[in-house]
């Protein structure tokens, strides 16, 4: 029984370590692009900031698909497809693939805010997500 505990802990922590490494790499990249200190509280504010989605004709924010509670699953606004929780603490698959992070930043910033996110904003958001 103890072994299963230990194994699970090891797996989660190794995932956590992997995601930690990736996030740090990303943050480092953003700093070279001109970002300053990163702040989770700012990241949270960005997450909840509402914008008018032109094609949809509605106000949206990140929580519209990803849910305000990051430890819960979200739902695609249009297709209803389940979106696994963003919080790395409950979902070890999150934040451990730099390409995946950038891909979704490109798409979702453009769709939600109508423009690409700045390096500062990405860093703040990543910091916020990592803390959950």
């Amino acid at each position: 029984m103890k072994y299963i505990y230990a194994l699970t802990l090891l797996l989660i922590s190794s995932a956590a370590v992997a995601s930690e490494a990736v996030v740090q790499e990303r943050l480092g990249q953003y700093r070279t692009q001109g970002a300053g200190d990163f702040d989770a509280a700012r990241g949270q504010a960005l997450w909840q900031q509402e914008h008018m989605q032109v094609k949809l004709g509605k106000q949206v924010n990140c929580a519209s698909c990803h849910s305000a509670n990051l430890q819960q699953a979200g739902k695609h606004m249009r297709t209803g497809k389940r979106i696994e929780p963003m919080a790395p603490s409950v979902n070890p698959d999150r934040l451990n693939d730099a390409e995946k992070i950038e891909k979704w930043f490109t798409r979702n910033c453009k769709w939600t805010w109508g423009r690409e996110c700045t390096a500062q904003e990405k860093g703040d958001i990543l910091t916020f997500l990592q803390s959950k």
């Binding site: 094609k55 695609h76 297709t79 497809k81 891909k103 490109t106 979702n108 453009k110």
Partner: protein, 192 residues
């Protein structure tokens, strides 16, 4: 009279063999061995087949069911893949490398490239000059789903729209759209 009996049996077996042989008859009779096999009735009468490209499956099932390539003509897939920044109102941009891999897969497995009975009928229902972007708007799809009332789909919170294939066609991710495997969530099994 016994002779007659034997002739009768001979005739019967001959006719049966002949009719079974016609099943092996396909249009464009000559072709490479592998292609011929794919055009044979056993292959074409089967399901549309699962998606065999990992990139397509991963990238294009993040928000919706990954639609089999054989359900749209090549020109439709090309148009979709060239406009990912406005993908039915969403932004589905991809890096060039992945985009090209997926486009290539979709093009080589499109309805006008792969002989399959779904693809053929689908193509036949679409005007040569039209480039349908939604499978659910092709006349073929509409015909197949003509008996389904709106309340079971658009008015059904467990389904939502006709684009949500997997909710009723449970074998869809294996390429199976068999009429007998249809269960509409919230309602009983659908019988044709």
């Amino acid at each position: 009279m016994k002779q007659k009996k034997y002739w009768g049996i001979l005739l019967l077996s001959g006719c049966l063999t002949l009719s079974m042989a016609t099943l092996a008859w396909t249009e464009d009779g000559e072709g490479e061995g592998h292609e011929r096999h794919e055009r044979g009735f056993l292959h074409q009468a089967a399901d549309i087949g699962p998606i065999t490209n990992k990139a397509y499956k991963t990238e294009c099932s993040a928000c919706h069911f990954a639609y089999p390539a054989g359900f749209l003509p090549e020109r439709s897939w090309v148009k979709i893949m060239n406009n990912l920044d406005d993908h039915f109102g969403e932004n589905a941009e991809l890096n060039d490398k992945t985009r090209l891999v997926i486009t290539d897969y979709l093009r080589t497995h499109a309805a006008d490239r792969l002989p399959n009975r779904f693809s053929r009928s689908m193509l036949r229902s679409v005007d040569a000059g039209a480039t349908p972007l939604r499978i659910s708007e092709t006349p073929y799809f509409r015909h197949k789903h003509r008996e389904i009332p709106a309340r079971m789909v658009t008015g059904n919170p467990k389904v939502g729209s006709f684009s949500n294939c997997l909710s009723c066609h449970s074998g869809a991710d294996k390429g199976s759209f068999d009429e007998h495997g249809v269960t509409i969530p919230g309602f009983r099994q659908w019988e044709d």
